[in-house]
Symmetry: C2
Subunit: 447 residues, 2 copies
């Protein structure tokens, strides 16, 4: 049999016999001709069954082939997977890619049920119930091709820099962040917890002398909220590096990664992103703007928005406003908010040498929403322990983590970034549900 | 300040001022000279403090610098992280890399406690208790650099083939493999389970028309066993692809990946692997030998070993023997055992068209141990459902999975492979505990 050809490669081929495989997107059954729109992972093409006979014709020697094929095509349901061989013909009048295929044979691999549980106007919950059908839409497929390209570009940067890829355990004996959002696992005769982040374990790699490390893996938060940017399970992109002077070194790595990722995505998918999402992807210039958090709050206040929070933190509306300000002033989609107040940062963030109220930390805001938190970590065991106690933590429970610092550790820092959020903001989607393969929330565990 | 130089790059530099950072591996305190062996993520180098003065000497203007430095060096504990500036000098008599550094300044970043909980002869449990110290050994560091290179090479193959990277959820509403080895999670008001494999979700990508997909992520098995090759959490390397004719297509992809991974590892780390593990890495020739399971059992029987199992399966000793046979006969480290009996395969493996007793499946054996199971999947909903019922499963519980097949699906197949096992066998290690960043077992959740 001839080799399968991807639909995107048809236009560049010469006319002649081809084999294509995919699923039926549309059937148009006309009086003397039948059309099928076939889609595969790379695109869509029009198949044609010409010279249609509705009944066997004793005068026509091809009638016994044509009539069954006619019937088969009429009965093709939306979503049925088929393999078709036929004559590829270039034809400028065919809007769909300028080619069509005159059907010779059809092999039905798996017929779809005739009902279609998802319609174009189905709400997000129905679409998530039938995520595998929802993902057939070309714009959804594009999301995950973008994800692939983005991650591969990030990993190339890390590999070029000599970073080590680690896979940290997701089963832990205690909390890595806050006890409040912890999932508990029955672990043989005892209990385990799901990692809320690889924080402790990527710092362990620093004490182990690994230098730079990275990980892309799941993180779990028993967060009961239902916003567009929270999930109970999400993909965390993490890096950590040794021998930094401050969080500035982390921000420089972070910039380099975002530029590499967006450059690769724009190059490979820029046109499709424009077509499907009407987004003109921009590769950000370096350095990204940096604004201390306190100053950012002053800026949005001067522009009429006072952040309504009791603590020192920014809120989502404040992030949107400072992002809009930066876009207007510097034409930049990204902004690092830096030097967060110690009261709103975890105990392991290092504080300024000259002002213990402030931390060597940042949040990265992209198109109005926070995608990442980074920091220099406190590596001095006495300071670290004091900061943990100050936050009301029990150093005994942190025992294994604090041990990492007792036998020597370099200065270090890193960041964690929510992949699904990055994709949501890159492609200007309304929710991470659109940019997560299978979303998990407080009331969603299926499919 | 001068830029930090990685120790591996010193030999290629000209003599002159350099800055290095790492941890103290050894201090030799002699009468008139002090030596420090400093290690970083790239190698080790000798630091020298010559012209040592034990007491301030009013005649010597450098004495007040030299004496404190002398004290500092004497007090350096093993594992202390330091930054040193000094004069790089090439010196053929220095065994360690042919260079040494005359110390100018020492900055102690974090001093290590003087006790060393891990000794060279500590057993594996002590080493795992102090994994971050254990990982400082250069051979352990090498394991994870090999992992990085191996995975990057695999992903390059997938990206070049147009495969999509997915991250499937690890929180599930039901079992994906067997109910016996399932971890239960408290999920808000209800229960969730940890994914034993991404099996169902990577098949979902097939129904979604994604074509080829891959994932590298954690998998969880509540397996109470304590062998050298089992863990409760491990890194699974998974791929799945559409429009295959049989499991042969999956094996071809699998071969291509292993060859690419091993080629990259040999090229980048072959010499170090030889040095630290005394292993001469071999890039396997294609095609890998393929032996139907029944035939493999005949071969080991003819060579004197009757597999002592009630079912049709191979056992670990049988795997070792067939692997030794293949090595001897074909000089090959790999062998595909194919066509497993349906009774010992999951319900979703496709069976031979002409013999429903056998499946379109394989195990890949590497240096004597199974590293992977692959198969063509059954895509016909009626056959799939019947096979599930035959295995005593409740199709209702499989509801969401079976739905994937009701709305059309291409022929497809794939494999799952245990990354830690591959590394164990590649580097001829005795246990996956040596090739897992942080091992998890029935009685190990720490650190």
């Amino acid at each position: 049999m001839t080799e399968r050809v991807l639909i995107k490669d048809l236009a560049a081929r010469e006319d002649g016999l081809v084999r294509v495989s995919g699923w039926v997107e549309k059937v148009r059954d006309q009086r003397y001709v039948q059309f099928v729109v076939l889609r595969d992972e790379s695109g869509a093409v029009q198949l044609v069954n010409g010279g249609v006979l509705r009944e066997p014709d004793p005068e026509n020697p091809r009638s016994d082939i044509l009539v069954p094929r006619t019937t088969t095509i009429s009965e093709l349901t939306h979503g049925t997977f088929i393999t078709v061989t036929g004559e590829l013909q270039h034809n400028e009048r065919v809007k769909l890619g300028g080619v069509e295929i005159q059907i010779e044979t059809i092999d039905v691999v798996a017929a779809a049920l005739p009902d279609n549980p998802v319609a174009d106007d189905s709400n997000i919950d129905v679409r998530l119930d039938w995520r595998f059908l929802d993902l057939r839409r070309p714009e959804q497929n594009l999301v995950f091709r973008v994800q692939t390209t983005f991650l591969h570009a990030l990993r190339q940067v890390w590999v070029d820099r000599g970073f080590i890829e680690i896979q940290t355990p997701k089963l832990m004996a205690s909390a890595s962040e806050s006890r409040a959002e912890l999932f508990e696992v029955e672990y043989f005769e005892g209990k385990a917890f799901l990692a809320q982040s690889p924080q402790f374990f990527k710092q362990m790699a620093q004490a182990a002398g690994f230098g730079g490390i990275f990980e892309v893996g799941p993180a779990f938060r028993a967060d009961p909220s239902f916003t567009s940017r929270h999930a109970t399970e999400f993909t965390s992109v993490d890096a950590e590096m040794s021998w930094i002077d401050s969080h500035e070194d982390v921000m420089e790595l972070h910039e380099e990664l975002m530029v590499a990722g967006l450059t690769a995505v724009k190059e490979k998918h820029g046109e499709e992103i424009k077509k499907f999402f009407n987004v003109e992807l921009e590769v950000p210039a370096r350095p990204f703007p940096r604004i201390p958090l306190a100053e950012a709050k002053e800026i949005v206040k001067a522009e009429g928005y006072e952040v309504p929070r009791a603590d020192a933190d920014m809120d989502p509306e404040g992030e949107r406003r400072i992002s809009a300000h930066v876009k207007k002033k510097y034409g930049h989609d990204f902004v690092f908010l830096t030097d967060y107040d110690a009261s709103i940062r975890p105990f392991y963030h290092m504080r300024h040498a000259d002002n213990p109220q402030l931390t060597n930390s940042y949040d990265l805001i992209y198109n109005g929403t926070e995608i990442s938190t980074g920091a220099q970590r406190e590596h001095r065991i006495d300071v670290l322990e004091a900061q943990a106690v100050e936050k009301g933590m029990d150093p005994k429970e942190l025992g294994f983590y604090l041990d990492f610092f007792r036998y020597g550790v370099p200065t270090h820092g890193g960041f964690g970034m929510g992949l699904n959020r990055v994709l949501m903001l890159m492609l200007k989607q309304s929710s991470i549900r659109e940019t997560t393969y299978l979303f998990r929330g407080p009331n969603r565990l299926l499919p």
